[in-house]
């Protein structure tokens, strides 16, 4: 270990942000840059991520909520107003609509007078993890892969400094993946993508090593930070090996494992949320301690992660953590601290062997695309998550404040009313309407013929197999909207619904306590007797929300508690949910909503149920529901509201059975 005079340069310090409108987000970005943030990380709202206009029925309640709405080129120009794109490093968390948002970015840069070749940044552009975890996909897997490679082929030629894909393992861990699953799925995904790029005729074979070198990763780092550090060292070694052996990439610099991080948020708790600050700091150690496997960019969640969206101050608190780590500690003054450690080497070897086995399993399932379409990969994630939750319920996996050390003095952070709206960012209720008004104004002032011609060119390219990138950029300049672009893609390639991963192999691990599965089963039996047939539950995910963990685990536990469970997956309209409730003759409808749109979506579902003559079917709601909103939901007639604090799934099942039994008694 040698200490040196000149410390290493720190990683790129970022905060993932964006909300309400392009103008509001622009103000936020400028503030963050002034505070010393060194790059931008753009969060888009769900309609933008899934290719809908703000006034589409699917967008109800979601516009401007969890990110910035970008409906057309003027929004993109506003978002970067006063921020010179030729000098900015911009990371965009965008996937299904990545070709379109990149096209808008290029068009906005061109209007600023920037040279395409100077553009620096990242499009996430990883669809496999959307199918497996994140949920903002649009098109079937094969078509998605094709558009991903359109982006890659385009940037190789036109935007040489751009990272066209960020292969994500982050979201897999957030869906319950173990380190083995996280690493193997991500690496297999990256190889699938590179194979597809290599098969393209418009990518010069001589440039292929450069393309491989441009693939970067976006990983997770959980609370078991030693394991996580080992994981990243292994990922780097395996990536280097795969690029050399499989593709013959000779230049070691092009085989370097470059990754950004968001640390684990799944383990951040609603109970005693102040403890999350420590968790975040420890999780960060896993990705900065070992110089050989250090992150290129880090973004951290905030202490109030499980409560709702962070306010600027909450984000600043996390930003300061990064700055303290980089500038106060001696972290950046040393060479790698772990090379040569026999303990670390042993852990590395074990993990690498498991990862190879898992990658061979994917191969045997027919490769990534087949194993995504069949649901095989998803099913393993759901199983892993069920095991994780059961360990927490049993108290085997300790979570301070949740299943141990639960007592707490009153918290000054809890807000005036003991845990309400003043702990989180409340998005301006008018944001959606304002965005719709802007969109309508935009539609009127653009040239209709240009728009029609641009859409036709886009359609032709999509159909013929030609790259959609240049036609998309032309469409951006012509004033085409996000929804119009998405509609053309849906028309050509078809809409897709991914497998839910719920199958026979997913079961509740034995002995899940406290409360006990037996007690829940007895309650379900009692309710079923009162109802005349087995208690039938519809688990519904209304809106564009892709957070499926809760719905999946509720469905698994409900089945294992003896209920018959109808679950169709994410992204249903209130009308589709009511239709299923009607046809299936369910006794209880349970909604899972984590997108913050519950105050819009719950009334919409209730109205849809009434329209199908189902006003008497009880409704329960779970998800990220701020305490302040609970009374409003109950007043609408919701029977029960569950939040992450209700981590005892058996108790939830008992409560659902009681709701059903009560409705049987009332009938």
């Amino acid at each position: 270990m040698t200490s040196r005079d000149k410390p290493d340069r720190p990683w790129l310090i970022r905060t993932y942000s964006g909300h309400s409108s392009a103008a509001a987000s622009n103000a936020l970005y400028r503030e963050n840059l002034a505070r010393g943030q060194t790059g931008l990380s753009v969060a888009f709202d769900l309609p933008t991520q899934t290719g809908y206009d703000a006034d589409a029925p699917e967008a109800l309640g979601e516009v401007g909520k969890v990110g910035v709405p970008i409906g057309a080129l003027p929004d993109m120009e506003t978002l970067f107003d006063g921020i010179p794109l030729s000098r900015m490093n911009t990371s965009m968390t965008i996937n299904a609509t990545a070709p379109w948002l990149l096209a808008l970015y290029v068009a906005a840069a061109e209007r600023q007078g920037a040279d395409r070749r100077d553009l620096l940044g990242t499009t996430q552009n990883d669809l496999v993890k959307e199918f497996l975890s994140r949920g903002t996909y649009m098109l079937p897997p094969e078509a998605s892969l094709r558009l991903q490679t359109d982006v890659i082929a385009f940037t190789v030629r036109e935007l040489p400094k751009w990272n066209p894909v960020n292969v994500c393992s982050y979201h897999l861990q957030e869906a319950g993946a173990t380190p083995v699953l996280e690493v193997s799925y991500a690496l297999a995904n990256a190889l699938t993508l590179l194979d597809a790029v290599r098969a393209r005729e418009d990518v010069d074979a001589a440039l292929f090593p450069e393309v491989a070198g441009r693939i970067s990763f976006f990983v997770n780092a959980g609370i078991r930070f030693v394991t996580e550090m080992v994981k990243l060292r292994v990922m780097g070694d395996l990536w280097d090996e795969l690029l050399q052996d499989r593709y013959g990439v000779a230049d070691p610099r092009l085989r370097r494992f470059r990754y950004g991080v968001q640390v684990n948020s799944l383990g951040l708790t609603e109970q005693q949320p102040e403890n999350n600050v420590y968790r975040i700091a420890l999780e960060m150690l896993g990705v900065v301690l070992s110089k050989r496997a250090r992150a290129r960019a880090v973004q951290l969640p905030a202490w109030n992660e499980a409560l709702g969206l962070p306010r600027p101050w909450d984000q600043q608190w996390s930003l300061r953590l990064q700055q303290i780590m980089a500038f106060e500690t001696d972290l950046l003054e040393h060479d790698d601290l772990f090379d040569g450690s026999s303990a670390v080497t042993a852990l590395e070897e074990e993990l690498a062997a498991d990862v190879r086995r898992e990658m061979a399993w994917i191969e045997a399932e027919g490769g990534v695309i087949a194993a995504v379409a069949s649901g095989a990969m998803k099913e393993r994630l759901v199983v892993a998550n069920a095991e994780r939750l059961a360990r927490i319920e049993r108290g085997e996996q300790k979570v301070v404040g949740v299943n141990c050390f639960e007592e707490s003095a009153p918290s000054p952070l809890a807000g005036g009313d003991g845990g309400g709206a003043d702990q989180i960012l409340v998005v301006d209720a008018g944001a959606g309407a304002e965005q719709i008004a802007r969109l309508e104004a935009h539609r009127v002032q653009r040239n209709k013929n240009d728009v029609a011609a641009a859409l036709q060119a886009l359609r032709d390219a999509a159909k013929s197999g030609a790259s959609v990138m240049e036609p998309s950029i032309r469409a951006a300049h012509a004033g085409v909207t996000t929804g119009e672009w998405g509609a053309v893609m849906r028309e050509v390639f078809g809409e897709y619904r991914a497998p839910t991963g719920l199958g026979a192999v997913v079961t509740t691990p034995d002995g899940s306590a406290p409360g006990g599965l037996e007690a829940a089963r007895a309650a379900v039996r009692r309710a079923s007797d009162a109802l005349g047939r087995r208690l039938k539950l519809l688990v519904g995910k209304p809106g564009l929300d892709g957070h499926s963990n809760g719905a999946e685990q509720i469905a698994v536990r409900a089945r294992d508690a003896g209920m018959e469970v109808v679950y169709e997956g994410i992204r249903l309209t209130p009308a589709q949910i009511a239709l299923a409730a009607e046809e299936e003759g369910v006794h209880v409808v349970g909604l899972s909503i984590l997108s913050g749109s519950h105050l819009e979506l719950v009334p919409a579902v209730l109205a849809a149920l009434r329209a199908r003559d189902l006003a008497d079917v009880p409704l329960v709601v779970g998800g990220i529901i701020p305490e302040a909103d609970r009374p409003a939901l109950l007043a609408l007639g919701v029977a029960r509201v569950f939040t992450p604090s209700d981590f005892d799934l058996n108790a939830i099942m008992t409560a659902i059975a009681e709701v059903a039994a009560a409705s049987a008694a009332a009938a």
């Binding site: 719920l502 469970v565 679950y567 046809e583 299936e584």
Partner: protein, 297 residues
């Protein structure tokens, strides 16, 4: 108007309540359920047919059901679906996820999909599936019954269906297994799904044709289809509509239908099987009877 009248009139509310009733195990509901099914079984909607959809898990039955629904809707026909999923032996609970594969235009009320758990009928049809199909047949032009695809369900479904599509997976060995299992005796259509897989699907089709010839059943309709691309789905719909023309609906007389709607699910299938098999055997002396193999023990 009685509930039966409302079902015949196509009221979705009535169809929902009728299906709830025939699924009920409450003693007080059994007589009403029996009466309802008796009433409806004797008065199918004009030209309505029940179509069974069977084959091993994962072969694409649900996806194909979605494609058939689209094809029939395209012809202006209304469609009812009963989709049966297995129940967990441990808890008695079940995941009912097949309906996700049947997508339809928003606001299309010409389709009604009811999922049922097989309950204690391991591998067989759900207890309410027979009665449910008869209810739906009174309100919809086509009724699809998708089975779990293991155990007794293939032969079970034939007792209620006018025609059955037996779906096989290309290059899986299913082809031979199905023939050996005696499924050839069903009044139906053999479907090789996943035609988009290309050569292996076409080869399975050729193998089947040869096998049917050797078994002396060259007349069994054979369709190569892809639920994904839609190729062959119209042909399948037509073959199902044409299968055994003129045959009256389920031959089970109404009182038997009523008995079905009642409890005692365990006895049910064997009784049907006993009833049906000798008749088939007489009609087709060459056919052999063997229990379909269990795909997943």
């Amino acid at each position: 108007m009685t509930l039966a009248d409302d079902v015949r009139a196509g009221s979705r509310r009535a169809v929902r309540e009728a299906l709830n009733l025939v699924e009920s195990e409450r003693a007080a509901d059994l007589a009403a359920a029996a009466e309802l099914v008796d009433a409806l079984a004797g008065s199918p909607r004009e030209g309505a047919r029940i179509v069974g959809l069977t084959g091993p898990p994962g072969v694409g039955k649900s996806t194909l059901a979605g494609a058939l629904v689209r094809a029939w809707r395209g012809d202006g026909l209304t469609v009812g679906v009963v989709a049966v999923d297995p129940s967990s032996r441990r808890s008695g609970g079940a995941f009912l996820g097949d309906r996700a594969r049947i997508d339809r235009p928003p606001g299309d009320d010409g389709v009604f999909v009811r999922s049922m758990a097989a309950r204690d009928r391991l591998g067989g049809l759900a207890p309410g599936a027979f009665a449910g199909a008869l209810v739906l047949r009174a309100a919809y032009d086509r009724v699809l019954v998708e089975t779990v695809g293991v155990g007794q369900s293939e032969t079970d479904v034939a007792t209620v269906a006018d025609a059955t599509a037996v779906v096989v997976q290309p290059a899986s060995g299913d082809v031979l297994q199905f023939i050996k299992a005696g499924l050839m005796e069903l009044d139906g259509v053999l479907v090789v799904n996943k035609a988009d897989l290309g050569a292996i699907a076409r080869r399975s089709l050729r193998d089947l044709r040869v096998a049917l010839g050797l078994l002396g059943r060259p007349e069994v309709p054979l369709v190569l289809a892809s639920a994904h691309t839609g190729d062959g789905v119209d042909a399948l719909a037509r073959a199902l509509d044409a299968a055994r023309p003129g045959r009256p609906g389920p031959r089970a007389p109404a009182p038997r239908a009523a008995r079905r709607a009642r409890g005692r699910p365990r006895d049910r299938a064997p009784r049907h099987a006993r009833h049906r098999r000798p008749r088939r055997a007489r009609r087709r002396p060459r056919a052999r009877h063997r229990a379909p193999r269990r795909r997943r023990p």
